[in-house]
Amino acid sequence: MSAHKALGGRIFTLPFMILGIIAAIGIYYMAQRFILGMGTVANINGGFPWGIWVVFDVVIGTGLACGGYALAFTVYLFNKGQYHPLVRPALLASLLGYALGGFGAIFDMGRWWQFYNIVLPGNWNFNSAMLEVGLCVALYILVLIIEFAPVYLEKIGAKGLLKSLNKVMFFFIALGVLLPTMHQSSLGSLLIAMGYKVDPLWQSLQFQPLLAVISALVMGYSIVIFEASLSNVSFGGKSETPLLSVLAKVAIGLLVAFVVIRMIILMIQGKFGLIFAGDFSSLMFMLEMALFIIPLFILASPARRQNGGKLLIAAVSMLFSGALYRFNAFLFTFDPGPGYSYFPSASEIMVTLGIIAIEIMAYLVVVKTLPVLHSSEQA
C-alpha cells in the first residue's frame, strides 16, 4: 500500500481566500485582454514584444516547474527510488507550473484562436526553436498528467487501471526526462536568433541550449529542496533534511558547472572585461553570479548543509539565480535599439500574480484531497 496520504483539513482558510482575491483580479484583467486586445492590459510594444507574460509565466515558470524533471533525472536514472517521498509533490508542482505556463502561452498568443496551427505538421518549420518549445511543452503536460494519474487512481481505488498503467509507466518517465531536456534547451536557443538584442554578457550563441538546461536543473533542484522544506514546516511532517542533503550535492555539481561554463564562454568570446564595466548589465551579472555562488557556499559545508534553515536559504538563492539568469537574458538587459523601453503595467503584473495565486491554490487543494505527500518515511 502507498505511504502517501491526503492531508485533509479545511480548504477555505484565510490565506486561501486572499489568494482567491488575487486570482480574481488577475482573471478580470485577463478577460480585458481578450475583449479589448493585449495593448490595453500590457505594456509590450514593437521593440519589446515579449514582456513578463512570456518571460516570467512561460520561460521562467516552466524553469521553476522543473522539479519533476530534476527529480526524475535523479530518482529513475540513477537509483532505485530512495527519493520517492519527494516525487509526488515535485510532480504536482511541475504539472501545475507547466499547465499554467501553457495557459500563459495561450493568453499571450496574439492569435490564440488559431493556436491549432502549431500542431498541423504541414505548417511546421523545423528551423524554429519556438516550434520545438511549443510542441514539447504541450506533450510534456500530457506526460505529467499521466505520471501523476496514479495518485488519482489510487484515491478512487481503480486497482486494475493502476496496475496496467504502472506497467508502461517507465516509458512516460523516460519521456518525462527527454522532453524537458529538449524544450528547456530550446528556450535557450530562442535567444540565439535575437542576435545583438541580447546583451553580450548573455549572448553565448551556440552555448545557449546548454546553459538553459543547466539553469532549468538548478531551478528544478531548488524547487524540490524548497518545497520539501516548506511542506515540512507548514504541514509538520518528519524532517526530510538528510535526504535533501544528498540532492544538494547534485545541486553543487550543477552550480559549479554553470558558473565555470559561463566564465569559460565569456573568456572564449573575449567578453570577460564586460563583467567589470560597471554598467547596469555588469551589475546584473554580478548579482546573478552571487545568487549562484551563495548556495554553493552553503551546500559545500556538511555542517551548513544539515541545517534546515540554511538549506532553505540555499534553495531560495538557487531559485532566484536561475530565474534572474533568464530574466536578465530575455528582458532586463534586452535591448532592441533606440526608442524602445518596457516596464510592465500594473494590470500586466496582476495577471501574472493571479496565475501564481491560482497555482498555489490548486497545489493546496490537491495535497489536501489526494495522496500526494508522504506521511513519513517509516509509515
Binding site: F78, N79, G81, S128, Y196, Q206, V246
Partner: protein, 326 residues
C-alpha cells in the same frame, strides 16, 4: 545502491549528458543564405530624400491602412515609427543646429524604415508555423496571417524590429511591408513597382532587381563629391525620368551588401548608419547560427529517438516491482 556510488554515477552520467548537448551545440552552424539571382529590391538613397513622406502616404493607400494622427494639425501622416498602423516611415537624424542636410555635425538626414527583405531573414527562420515566407525567386518576404499564432517571435527575431503587432485589436495580426506583393495587392506580380518607389518624387526610393540596384549603388560610391550625376527615378531598369544633381559626400558603405547576410532593400547615405539607427550587425546572420544549433541538436528527430530508447531502458532497469506503486 550506496549513496557515494549513486552520487558518483549521477555526476558522471549527468556530465556525459551535458557534454553531448554541448558538443552538439557547438557543432558547425550553417552558412548564411545567398542572395537570389533574380531578387527584387529597392535602393534608398538618404541624400536624395526630401522628407516629403509621399511614400508613407502611398504605402497606406496601397495597403489600406489608416493615417496616424498625433497633433491637432490634420495635415499629414504623423507616424513616428513602425506600428500596427504603419509599415513604412521616414525618420530624421538631427545633430546640433541641424542646419545642413546630410551632415553628421550640425546637420540632419532622413532614413526610411520598412522591411529590408533580408537575404537570410530572421523572421522566416524563427516562425514556428511558417507564417513568414520568402519567395524562392524574388526573395520577397511575405506574412500569412491565416496560419500565424501571434507568438511574436518574428518581432524579436527581426534585427530591424520590422514586424509589428496590432496590440489594440482583440483579434490583431502581424503587420509588415511585403513589398506590395501580398495577396490582393500583388503589384510586383502585375509588373508594377512598389508603391513607395512609385510615389517618391526624387528617386530616393528606387525600385528594381537587387543586382541592378547594387550596381547603381556602387556607381554612386565611385562618384566624386561635387560632380553632377543624372539620378534615375522609379525603376532602375526602366527609369521614368532623370534629374541632375550635385553628388554628395557619400559614406563608402552600402547597407545591405553584407549585413547579417545582406538585404534586398539597400541603403546609402552621407551619415553613418549607426547614427541613422541601423542595428549593430556583423556579417553572420543570427538565423544561420540558430538553425545550425537546432539542426545539430535534433538532426530531424533522430537524436531524440535514440535518447528516448536509452532513457526508457535505463528507467526500466531502475524501477523494480517494489516501486511500481508510484
Amino acid at each position: 545502491m550506496k549513496r557515494r556510488e549513486f552520487l558518483k554515477k549521477s555526476l558522471s552520467t549527468g556530465t556525459a549528458t551535458l557534454c553531448t548537448v554541448a558538443a552538439a551545440g557547438s557543432a558547425e552552424a550553417r552558412e548564411n543564405l545567398k542572395p537570389k539571382e533574380d531578387a527584387i529590391g529597392m535602393l534608398y538613397d538618404s541624400t536624395l530624400c526630401v522628407g516629403c513622406k509621399a511614400c508613407v502616404y502611398k504605402c497606406k493607400e496601397v495597403n489600406g491602412m489608416p493615417p496616424v494622427q498625433e497633433s491637432e494639425i490634420y495635415a499629414w501622416d504623423e507616424a513616428r515609427d513602425l506600428s500596427g498602423d504603419t509599415m513604412n516611415v521616414i525618420k530624421i537624424y538631427q545633430d546640433g543646429t541641424a542646419a545642413v542636410k546630410d551632415s553628421e555635425v550640425d546637420g540632419f538626414a532622413f532614413e526610411k524604415r520598412s522591411c529590408m527583405h533580408c537575404v537570410d531573414p530572421g523572421c522566416v527562420s524563427v516562425c514556428p508555423v511558417t507564417a513568414m515566407r520568402q519567395d524562392p525567386i524574388t526573395g520577397i518576404v511575405t506574412h500569412h496571417a491565416d496560419v500565424c499564432i501571434g507568438c511574436r517571435n518574428c518581432m524579436v527575431g527581426c534585427p530591424y524590429n520590422v514586424p509589428q503587432f496590432e496590440y489594440d485589436d482583440a483579434f490583431g495580426q502581424i503587420i509588415k511591408c511585403q513589398m506590395c506583393n501580398q495577396k490582393g495587392v500583388e503589384r510586383i506580380d502585375k509588373g508594377m513597382m512598389t508603391g513607395c518607389a512609385e510615389a517618391c518624387p526624387t528617386g530616393a526610393t528606387l525600385f528594381g532587381s537587387r543586382t541592378e540596384l547594387m550596381a547603381e549603388a556602387k556607381r554612386r560610391m565611385d562618384l566624386k563629391a561635387g560632380e553632377i550625376y543624372n539620378y534615375p527615378r522609379g525603376d532602375v531598369r526602366t527609369p521614368d525620368s532623370f534629374h541632375e544633381k550635385e553628388v554628395p559626400e557619400y559614406k563608402k558603405h552600402i547597407w545591405g551588401e553584407t549585413e547579417a547576410g545582406g538585404t534586398n532593400v539597400l541603403h546609402i547615405s552621407s551619415v553613418s548608419f549607426d547614427k541613422l539607427g541601423m542595428p549593430p550587425l556583423g556579417d553572420r546572420s543570427a538565423a544561420s547560427i540558430a538553425e545550425g544549433v537546432q539542426h545539430s541538436l535534433y538532426s530531424y528527430l533522430a537524436l531524440p529517438a535514440v535518447a528516448l530508447a536509452g532513457l526508457a531502458i535505463t528507467v526500466r532497469r531502475n524501477t523494480d516491482d517494489k516501486e511500481e506503486e508510484l
